[in-house]
Structure formats: structure tokens, C-alpha cells
Symmetry: C2
Subunit: 473 residues, 2 copies
């Protein structure tokens, strides 16, 4: 149940609002293990829907197969790819009581342990492409305040790892998985995203290119929703992933890796939630409808019977009847609004007389009085419309948060206003480090269609590309 | 591809045979991390089928919900339930670089970390029963020789954790999940199991009762396929899982936990495999059929076209055509027998003339020549029959391995013959320790219908119950 204290308003303090919604809507809890989270059933169900949708896509469209690799990685493996080691070593948790010569790391990502296996499995061009995905838990010993779903020491994710015979194929597929991420975000989660490439400073440790999808959140911060990396032949060199090509010549494999995590759940909460609580895209929940009977003395039985009939007839939408006697209808409205059930149906004595029901969509909170016999059709129509409306609402909000700027002065001024900035940038790590230090903003991505025809707002270099800058989650 | 060296015969050395099948059939690999395994796609697919079958059952029949709890558990939690701590502490892997006051354990099972959350979530009888399940990885620092799927430092499993208002309900549901495990083993995996209770010595650390399903393997060893524990109120006391009952009185929750792991895959391999390799119950694989064209010079195109037609028409069975030119049909037969594809269809020029195909069931290896037009019906019929035949074959083998004995002398003699023993036993830990030391056998389970009307073969005590003894995996 929701607590008595009113929820903080999203517009007033989105951080507090988020923490309250996550906990009161029973999505996640802080765990006794500091920095860790408990993903509760209401949120885990969202993850299951995300998993099953994406899993189906990669298996059927791209012949990706799932596998499982060890949680613990020998330290020596980590060190084989230098850039990778440098990037991840501050975040690694180490095992104490190991009988190994070298320490064991809890995986912060699995490139190294997976590519060791690949080096044994790949011999010939006939073994390529090799496409394997793993659903697993990840530990990164990040410092800073824990934010459920968004910044925790452990999270769940998928990581795809593929090997190809040449660069062209590898790059093509790296972009193809990014495109699937964008579809997942936009169609399933109703969150519009920007697709593009990371600058050198923001690239995955060990990658040649990192492609990303970024979502603008209501506070104008950027939330990275998924990344796909072209790794070149660096890991293949370090781990000995070689194959004989059709001419019998030894070649290095070209590799990609791609992943998204349970932070997507955080994105859904932040993007769609409102002052009443969670708004769930209905594709993420089995329970799309709650039926609430308005029980007035003397008419209870009649209303309850009708409500039970309704529940039965709406089973295919996962409808459930909240017949608890100890709560008022008002308290029930609040509870299920907080928990984000997509549609509420109310039925009381008056509705019985008029052969009608009341339908309330969670995203708009608008009431419709419907003839009972039109209910099913209306539900279908609304379930079709809701994702479109949620997407468009998010899109409008996001667009209102972007400002295009050209100069340092504009950049400073607009960043102080908390805007999501679009600015010509040279892409050099030195400039980026200075910008981050002075403004707290980092580059989020260079859209694929950005042309090198600008002048860097920071250093004035020519051939700068329009790039998004924002604070990030 | 299979290697050139012939597979060890199962009857000659089942240990070597098992290791060879697991690796050559690409089911699993030893990992670079010592004691860990890589679950390869062919075996991971089996796990996915097991997961989806069982997940569906517990969600729809018992309203169990999935959630996810932290990988790492504070040491202080571990110590709260003494028996539990004693049982698991030798197997725990500890984290080195923690910022916590006390060390963190990688979960060897999750009772403690989960019950800490339960103590916060449960307030009233209305919150009960609480039924949550988690699919996750587990680490137990077991010493001894690594056996892929059967004994590795990490494995995957499900662990269900439920709380009830009273003992009766708790015990009833503990048995109910055990029954579902038995159904899973028998119907999906085609492995007959013995259901019963563990003796005190073999009980889960912290449990009042441990129920188990045990499968007799071809070498007369016992493989524990799943367990369900009635935990009483011990954990509830240690973690403060209390609720107000309908009279407003404080009560302790009665708890159960239940789990099975990826060792089920090991059981499938051991039980059904033969000298040619893996035999997969077809419910565990998408690819139920391989089509192998017999290509004879001059007729290749015709045969290949026909084979492609066949592949298309059998898509619903996940049929795939092995059209590789570099291998002979014989080499292909061997490879897919090794990898356990349930049905093979051969088609050559002669078959075209006779409008027939050849069908070979992997479990029997018998050839059938079928009119082409009867193929689909025959496949359906065989797919229905195969699980029954595999189950019966396993059942017959298992029964032939059991010997009922009454005395110490018989027990010694028969255990030396490598038999699976059924014997009246007092159930006392001291006797069991002596038996284990002298014979290497431990009690596997006391069947539910065993009556306390025997005389213990070891100590002579009355009221002994017939109990199974065997070496165990």
C-alpha cells in the first residue's frame, strides 16, 4: 500500500519523486548489501517482458544463440587487452579466497572470458559469423550515491558478442543491433531515442567505435539506453581469435559487442511517471486492467457480482478485481495509480442502472463513461492508442528540452538553464575533459547524420560535427 | 564436428564417456577460471526449455512471482541462522575489496538475503502467502574434480522462497513444488525419479525437513534432481519475519524453499546418452529434425531441391537441412547422432524414385522407409512416442539396478557390486556417518510411503524405514 504522506511532485524534485515512486510502487528496494538493489516482482516483470521481446528478435531475425560464461574472470585475462583493463579496473570486485595463482574478478563485462572460449571454438571461415548472447548479472564497484535501477553495484543485462570474417560485416551488424535497441526503446518502452556514435572520451574501453541510443529524460539529463561496439581486431589479437579464410590464409576475427541493462526500467519510470506515480507501458505488464467496485450499502452484492463477471470477461487483458473490503474506492484508485496499472474500470450501482462502466486510462487520467457492451472494443482501441500517445508525449517533452547553440557563451548560459545541448564539437578528448570540468556536461552522442562542417564551439577547430551534450544518468 | 577418435563406450567407462560427450557435442566446456564451466548454446537451449516450462507452471498454477536479489550477502546475515551458517560456510567465496564492515559472500543460496527483505515486506496475514522465485547464478567453492554440469563452482538454478501463516499450508506447498519437480523430470526430461524425504544427515542446512527427487543413473549412482525444504520458523525467528494474524496477534512466518539447477542437464546426458553420443528429449530442443541429402553424382540438384522442399514443409518441427558439401552423409550421421538431434531424415536418388524418405529415431537408431506422403503424420506419431519409450527404457534400467537388502552383510556385498540399495534404516546421523565411512554410500531418500516397521540393518534399532542408499553425484 502507498504510505500516507503525499508523493513528492515530479516537477519539484525529480530525484526524490523517483526514489519514492520506485519504493512505494514496490518496484525495487535498497538491499542490506550496500549499493545493491532488490528488484521486486512488479519491476522484474517489466524486465521479463523486455527480455522475451528482445530475445525473440535476436534469435529469429539474427540467429543469435544464448549461452552462459563464468561469473569470475582471472586477473591475467583482464590485462590482455590494455585499453579494456585500464577502463574497467577501478570498478572491479575481487575474490579473496581463491585457489588460483592470480586473483579472480567478478565480471564487470565479459569480453575477456568469452573471447578466450572463442579462440578455441573458431578455426575456419566456416565457423563465422559466430553470434552469442548472454543474459546475466554484472558487478561494477561504482562509487557515488546508489540510485535504484540507475546506479547500483550489481545490475542485470544482456551482452551480445559476435565475430565476423571482415570489418564490413562486423560494422553492419553492430549497427543492426543498435537499430533493434532503438526499436525496443521506442515501440516497447514508448521512449524516443537519439541514435549516434560516442566520442573518443565516451567510448567503451577497448572499442574502435561505440554506437549508442540516448534518451532525454524530463530533467534534461541523458540516459544511455544501450550501446553497440565495433571492437576491431584488438581483442582478437590479444586472445588469439584467428581463422583460416577460404584461401587458407590466417586472419583475425572482427568483433562486436552490444548490451542493455535493467536501467531501462529506470528510464521507463523517469520518462512516463507523473505526480500520482508510475505509468507503465502496457506491453510491460500482464495485468493491464484493475476493476474497482464502488460498494454502496445495500447494493454490495449486486455490484460485486457484476464486477466478477467483468473480471471474467476481461481475463485476456489480465484484468483483476480489487474487492478488498478494508479500503475505500479512493484509496484503491490511489494505490493502482501509484503502481501504474494501465487501465482502471470502475463500476457502481448507478453504472449498473445505466448499463455502463467507467474507464480511466492511467496515462491521461481521463474518465470515460461507456455503454457496457462497448467496453471490450474500447479497451482494444485504448490499448492500441496508449503507446502512441505516451511516445508522442515523451517526444514533445524531449524536443522542448533541446537547444541548438554555436558558441561557448551560449553553451554556458544554456547549460545553466538545464538544457540538452546540440553544438558543433571537434570530438577531441582534451576539449571534452575541459568542458566536463567546467560545466559538468559530457558529450552524449554524435548523430549518424552529423556532417563535419561546423566549427568547434570550444576550440574553434574546423570540421566539427553537431554533437549532443548533457548531464548523464 | 566430432573428432576422429572414437567415443569411449558408455558401458566401459561412463565418466570418460560423459566428459567426451559433453565436450564433443558442444554442450559445455571447462572455463579458464578453474572449476567453472561455459554452458554452450546446445545445452543452454535445454536450460531455456526447462526454465520456460517450469516458470509457466509456477506462475499460472501457484501465483509465484519472479524477482531478483543481490549476488553478494553480508557475512553477518550468514551467521544469523546457525545451522545454515555451519552448513554453508566451507563453500563460500568472499569478496576482497569491500567497503563494508563485514565481508561479503557470493551467494551459495539466498535464504538470508531474501528473508531480510521479507522481514520488511510482511506485516499482516493479508501479506501471506508470499511466493517468490528467482532464476540466478550460484557459487559454491566445492573442492574435488570438476564435472561439467554436475560439480562446478558456479551453476544456474531457480530458488523459490515462500512464507505462510501456518505449518500445514507451508508443508503442503513444499510437497506441491516437489511434485512439480517430479513431473518436470518425468514428463519433460523422461527421467523417472524417486520421491521422498532426506535423513537428518542429508538435510538442507537450516531445514526441518528436506524433500527430494532422486534419479538412479546408469552407473547406479544417485543424482539429486531437486529439493524442497520445510524451514519451520527458524529463519523467521532469526530475521524477524513476523505478521499480525486475524486476531491481531504477532506470529512467526512458516517458510519453505525449493530449487533445481543446471545439473538437470547432466542428468539428461547421463540417463539417455549412448555409445553414439547425446540423446535429447525432443521437448528440450527447437531443432527436432535434421535432413541429410544423399548426394550422388549427377543427381545432386534434384535431391537437393527435394531436400529443400522437405525442410520447408517441416519448418514447424525446426527441421534443418545439412547441405554441406565437404562432408559425406556418414560423417553427418555421426555428427548429428553425437549432438543428439531427435530425428534424422535421409533422402537420396532412390528415395526420389520411390517417393519415399528414410526416418531414423535417435533413441532407437532404427530405420523406417516411409512413403513421402505419410512423413508428417509419422513424425507426429514418433514425437509422441519417443518420450514414452525413453522414459520406459530409463525406468527398466533403473529398476534393474535396485536391490532390496536386510542385513549389513548383504549391504556390503551388494554395494561392492555397485547396486542401488533399498534397506531398513534408523535414520540416525551417527549410523549414517559410519556407513558412509565404511562403504562410501549415503542415504538418498526415504520414500514417502515407507512405514516404520523394519529393523535397522546397521544398528538393529526397531521402527526403521526402508531407505535408499547409493553413491551420489
Amino acid at each position: 500500500m502507498s504510505e500516507d504522506k503525499a508523493l513528492t511532485k515530479k516537477s519539484e524534485n525529480i530525484t526524490d519523486w523517483y526514489n519514492e515512486v520506485v519504493q512505494r510502487a514496490e518496484l525495487a528496494d535498497y538491499a542490506a548489501t550496500r549499493g545493491f538493489m532488490v528488484i521486486r516482482p512488479r519491476a522484474y516483470e517489466m524486465w521479463e517482458h523486455i527480455q522475451s521481446d528482445f530475445d525473440h528478435t535476436i534469435k529469429t531475425k539474427y540467429k543469435v544463440k544464448n549461452a552462459y560464461f563464468p561469473l569470475l574472470i582471472p586477473e591475467s585475462f583482464f590485462k590482455k587487452e590494455q585499453e579494456h583493463a585500464k577502463g574497467f579496473s577501478p570498478e572491479v570486485a575481487w575474490i579473496a579466497n581463491t585457489d588460483e595463482q592470480n586473483r579472480l574478478a567478478i565480471r564487470p563485462t565479459s569480453e575477456t572470458i568469452i573471447y578466450d572460449s572463442y579462440s578455441k571454438w573458431i578455426r575456419s571461415w566456416r565457423d563465422l559469423p559466430l553470434r552469442i548472447n548472454q543474459w546475466c548479472n554484472i558487478v561494477r564497484w561504482e562509487i557515488g550515491i546508489t540510485r535504484l535501477f540507475l546506479r547500483t553495484k550489481e545490475f542485470l543485462w544482456q551482452e551480445g558478442h559476435c565475430v565476423y570474417a571482415n570489418e564490413k560485416e562486423a560494422r553492419k551488424e553492430a549497427l543492426q543491433y543498435l537499430k533493434e535497441y532503438a526499436k525496443l526503446a521506442e515501440n516497447l518502452l514508448c521512449i524516443p531515442v537519439i541514435c549516434g556514435e560516442k566520442t573518443q572520451a565516451e567510448r567503451f574501453a577497448g572499442a574502435v567505435n561505440t554506437y549508442t541510443i540516448e534518451a532525454i529524460m524530463p530533467d534534461a539529463k541523458s540516459l544511455q539506453m544501450g550501446t553497440s561496439h565495433y571492437l576491431g581486431t584488438g581483442f582478437a589479437k590479444s586472445f588469439g581469435i584467428e581463422f583460416l579464410d577460404q584461401e587458407g590464409k590466417k586472419q583475425l576475427g572482427h568483433q562486436i559487442s552490444w548490451g542493455f541493462s535493467t536501467r531501462l526500467i529506470g528510464a521507463v519510470i523517469l520518462m512516463h511517471g507523473d505526480d500520482k506515480g508510475l505509468v507503465t507501458p502496457h506491453a510491460l505488464t500482464e495485468t493491464k486492467i484493475v476493476i474497482i467496485p464502488i460498494l454502496i450499502k445495500g447494493r454490495e452484492e449486486q455490484v460485486l457480482n457484476e464486477a466478477k463477471e467483468l473480471e471474467k470477461s476481461l481475463k485476456s487483458f489480465g484484468a483483476f478485481l480489487d474487492a478488498r473490503e478494508q479500503y475505500t474506492p479512493g484509496a484503491k484508485f490511489s494505490e493502482w495509480e501509484l503502481k501504474g496499472i494501465p487501465i482502471r474500470i470502475e463500476i457502481g450501482p448507478k453504472d449498473l442502472e445505466n448499463k455502463q462502466v467507467v474507464l480511466v486510462r492511467r496515462d491521461t487520467l481521463q474518465k470515460q463513461f461507456l455503454p457496457r457492451k462497448e467496453l471490450k472494443e474500447t479497451i482494444k482501441k485504448e490499448l492500441k492508442q496508449m503507446p502512441i500517445d505516451m511516445y508522442n508525449k515523451a517526444k514533445n517533452l524531449q524536443e522542448s528540452l533541446i537547444t541548438k547553440v554555436e558558441t561557448k557563451e551560449q553553451f554556458f548560459a544554456e547549460s545553466k538553464q538545464g538544457r540538452y545541448l546540440f553544438v558543433p564539437f571537434c570530438g577531441l578528448p582534451n576539449c571534452e575533459a575541459e568542458i566536463k570540468e567546467k560545466t559538468g556536461l559530457s558529450s552524449r552522442c554524435v548523430p549518424f547524420d552529423s556532417k563535419p562542417n561546423g566549427k568547434c564551439f570550444w576550440c574553434g577547430k574546423e570540421k566539427a560535427k553537431y554533437t549532443y551534450f548533457a548531464k548523464s544518468y
